[in-house]
């Protein structure tokens, strides 16, 4: 008789937010894989209704303490679309600069403190620091730079206060930004070192035929805009996002799960998708290092996402330096606008991947509808699918070892569970 | 010394007119207790009230769970067992002489009669009792405030 066997990770660690993993096996056959998310729902889409649209970037930032800028950027672009606001090039550059800060901060944290310990056999980055003091200290310094940039430009690193619909409440003075340049010059070199080091890690031999999705912009590495593009070659205008990508509510999760197309297939968003789709638009140094370490694209090994993150840190530093060096405070920090009823959507690239927002606002400037699709919900089904494929290859009788390996795979996606619990159903429920 | 002599010296009686003092002395007598003597027990019925002329009396209350707790000491010149005059004669504390103690004892019943019969006397006596009690009330309040307790 075949024994049923359960592998449970009660609480996934070194990820943002709280979730678990549940695998049911009968013999060697995998019956069920669930990425369970028990993060309590916070009902953001509901509580946004009736709020002033100016509050949206502040409120949505609170969805996630680790990538608040992604929420702020997506929401302001979506609202600007609804209000018909055209931002200036200056504001656009400052927004990219802010996003650079978040990418550096978020990637540096993930790479050094959350994921590298998996490859090197530690419980935490803090434990790892005993044997890898240079790497961890370098990572902390990189992370600090990201935070410093967020603090100068955003007012603070977590839940920045300077992001406004139409631009910024106040553009930083030159003397506030330029002192960052020496640190960023150091950081660019440090990020190169980090990436070289990451490339030496021991990656499990595991590749899949992913459908990877990210924004693609003809002139730049994607952050705030672009067409939603798949490695299959398909591409959509952001306004068509909801026609292609769907969400569904499953019992084991307080997050909604996304899927693509009529087949309801899973897909993969994040740094690996971005690098695969935009390699030639990485900054020169990032491209050079990619070549140097022999990073081949398309890369279909999820474990190598950590290297993609390294390259994105380099890119963010290099782009930030470019903006910092040439910075002149814009004459207009915030575009003036009138309230009007409307609808708008936008997608940007959070550190963890594509994030989509759509809002409806009324003539009084109040939000009447909000839909937010963060990256982790889009990856959730892909993660389960990966596990189904990966488990048979690593399965032994040692449950502890098995779960560790499963967790390592889950962490490749840097899942942000706090983010993933704010999904909106597809049809609007409105009273009256 | 006679009760009158002693009364004249007592702080309690210091403001009473001579005529009133004499009326009081007429119903007073001198009593004495040895060190350690139980003068009365909490809950006892007593008719006498006392003005201490020498010595030292400690008032105690039985606090369940904490045992006998000393709440006040009464010294010469001060009033003891005022319940005999104002209350129903039931003692609210126990009183123990902690040294050889002498007092002027006045029958509460007779004193009440005297006060009723002669409002002049009553006015003066009650004034003094009220003054003594207000001082004791204030002291009690300060005690309740627990001024020397460790602040938090």
């Amino acid at each position: 008789m075949t024994q049923e066997r359960l592998i449970k990770v009660e609480a996934l660690t070194r990820v943002e937010g709280e979730g678990g993993l549940f695998v049911r096996l009968v013999g060697d056959r995998i019956e069920d894989v669930q990425l369970t998310i028990f993060e309590p729902p916070r009902l953001f889409e509901a509580l946004l209704r009736g709020r002033k649209l100016e509050e949206v970037p502040d409120i949505t930032a609170r969805i996630c303490g680790i990538c608040p800028v992604a929420y702020q950027m997506s929401s302001v672009h979506a609202l600007e679309a609804a209000l018909g606001i055209e931002i200036t090039e200056d504001i656009r550059r400052l927004r990219r600069l802010l996003y650079c800060g978040e990418w550096i901060e978020s990637h540096a944290l993930h790479v050094h403190l959350l994921h590298a310990p998996d490859f090197l056999g530690y419980d935490s980055g803090i434990d790892m620091a005993k044997d890898f003091p240079n790497e961890v200290n370098r990572g902390l310094r990189l992370k600090k730079h990201g935070n410093q940039l967020l603090e100068v430009l955003g007012g603070r690193a977590i839940h920045p206060i300077n992001v406004a619909v139409g631009g910024f409440y106040r553009a930083p003075r030159r003397d506030e930004l330029t002192p960052l340049i020496p640190d960023f010059e150091w950081g660019l070199q440090a990020a190169v070192e980090t990436t070289r080091w990451l490339a030496t890690l021991n990656f499990p031999d595991f590749t899949r035929a992913y459908d990877m999705v990210s924004l693609v912009h003809p002139d730049e590495y994607p952050m705030n805009e672009g067409r939603v593009t798949s490695t299959t070659g398909a591409a959509w205008d952001v306004r068509d996002y909801e026609r292609e990508f769907h969400e569904e509510h499953v019992a084991h999760s307080t997050a909604l799960q996304s899927s693509r197309g009529e087949r309801q297939a899973c897909y993969h968003v994040g740094p690996l998708a971005r690098v695969n789709l935009n390699r030639e638009r990485l900054s020169p140094t990032a491209r050079r290092i990619a070549d140097e370490i022999g990073f081949e694209t398309p890369c279909q090994n999820p474990f190598r996402a950590i290297v993609a993150r390294g390259m994105e840190i380099i890119h963010a530093y290099e782009e930030a330096l470019d903006i910092l060096r040439t910075y002149r405070p814009p004459t207009i920090a915030r575009i003036k606008y009138e309230h009007r009823a409307g609808e708008g959507c936008a997608a940007t690239e959070a550190p963890r991947g594509l994030i989509y927002h759509r809002y409806e606002v009324d003539a009084a400037g109040l939000v009447t509808f909000a839909k937010i699709v963060p990256p982790t919900s889009q990856n959730q089904r892909q993660i389960e699918d990966d596990l189904r494929d990966y488990l048979p290859r690593i399965l032994t009788d040692d449950d502890v070892a098995t779960t560790r390996k499963c967790e390592q795979l889950v962490r490749c996606y840097d899942p942000c569970i706090s983010c993933s619990t704010h999904f909106l159903k597809l049809t609007v429920q409105r009273d009256g | 010394m006679t009760a009158l002599d002693l009364l004249q010296k007592a702080h309690f009686a210091s403001k009473l007119p001579a005529a009133v003092l004499e009326r009081l002395a007429a119903i007073a007598r001198v009593v004495e207790w040895n060190e350690g003597a139980l003068i009365f027990r909490e809950g006892d019925h007593r008719d006498d009230l006392y003005v201490l002329s020498s010595g030292h009396v400690t008032l105690e209350v039985n606090v369940p769970g904490r045992g006998l707790t000393r709440i006040l000491t009464v010294r010469s010149g001060e009033l003891l067992a005022w319940s005999a005059l104002l209350g129903d004669g039931r003692m609210t504390t126990s009183a123990i002489a902690t040294e050889p103690t002498q007092a002027i004892a006045i029958s509460g019943r007779e004193l009440r009669q005297l006060c009723e019969a002669d409002h002049e006397v009553g006015y003066h006596v009650m004034g003094q009792v009220a003054s003594a009690l207000s001082q004791r009330l204030l002291a009690t309040r300060l005690q309740l405030l627990d001024l020397f307790a460790k602040p938090h």
Binding site: R62, C64, G65 | -
Partner: protein
């Protein structure tokens, strides 16, 4: 080096964004030093090492929004010597406490296609409404320097101290011009507790109360003034009802204003 056992610290999360516990990892300069003074016994976001306690210090982030969390916090309390709540969710219910004034079932229906999968309470409440709390660290998010100060204080055997005065004092210390007086922008600074560094007015916007009510704040007088200056009551209600909206001083005033408003309308 003394061989004294290091205090065991657990970091726990309830309904929240992770930002406050992230503040510990965001204290890059201090992280490894602090980590050297303590035994991180439970901190899911940072380490796979899990120690079931008991803990000397529990740092609790997030508000109570589900029946199971209401039980879990009691369990953590029992296993912890010193329980500190960190952040507006834990100290005041957080932004999700907006549901406390709404039709909760309707909220859930609005967000989830299958509300029957969702088990939540109708309210989001601060930790202190469920268990005794030894120290509250305010902020949305908390200030990482204050967090380090609290941890280091406890390890060193001092009572942590955080200032309770208004944001205005910090604005003046840093030389920021009052945005309400000079520009007529509504600002909660006069009634909001210091701790953020008075950043919003320095970025040309009004304070929106991330650190909750200052000690003995006079919310009623401020809203009278803002009303008189032309801020409509519904806007004031929303200004008060955000990340610390359920903190008593803000809650009572927003409810008073909401009452005024409905009287005006009817």
């Amino acid at each position: 080096m003394s061989a004294e056992p290091k205090p065991k610290i657990g970091v726990f999360k309830f309904a929240s964004c992770d930002g406050c516990q992230l503040s510990l990892l965001a204290a890059e300069d201090e992280l490894l030093t602090v980590a050297g003074k303590i035994d991180i016994a439970y901190f899911l976001e940072a380490t796979s090492h899990i120690d079931a306690g008991p803990y000397d210090i529990a740092l609790v982030e997030g508000s109570i929004t589900t029946p199971s969390d209401a039980l879990r916090i009691r369990d953590i309390r029992q296993r912890s010597k010193y329980l500190i709540t960190i952040g507006a969710c834990a100290t005041a219910g957080g932004i999700q406490a907006l549901r406390n004034w709404a039709d909760h079932d309707e909220f859930v229906r609005a967000v989830y296609a299958r509300p029957e999968y969702i088990e939540t309470l109708a309210t989001s409440t601060p930790i202190a409404e469920h268990v005794p709390v030894d120290f509250e660290l305010r902020g949305c998010p908390i200030n990482r320097h204050q967090l380090v100060e609290v941890i280091v204080s406890l390890v060193a055997g001092r009572r942590p101290k955080t200032p309770s005065h208004s944001v205005c004092l910090d604005c003046k210390r840093r030389g920021t011009v009052c945005i309400t007086v000079a520009q007529g922008v509504p600002c909660l600074g006069p009634v909001t507790q210091s701790g953020c560094g008075a950043i919003c007015p320095a970025y040309d916007r009004g304070c929106y109360g991330c650190f909750g009510p200052a000690k003995q704040c006079n919310t009623g007088s401020l809203s009278q003034q803002l009303l008189a200056d032309g801020t409509p009551a519904p806007e004031l209600v929303q200004l008060l009802r955000n990340y610390n909206g359920y903190a008593p001083e803000f809650r009572y005033e927003s409810e008073r204003l909401a009452g005024l408003n409905s009287e005006v309308i009817s």
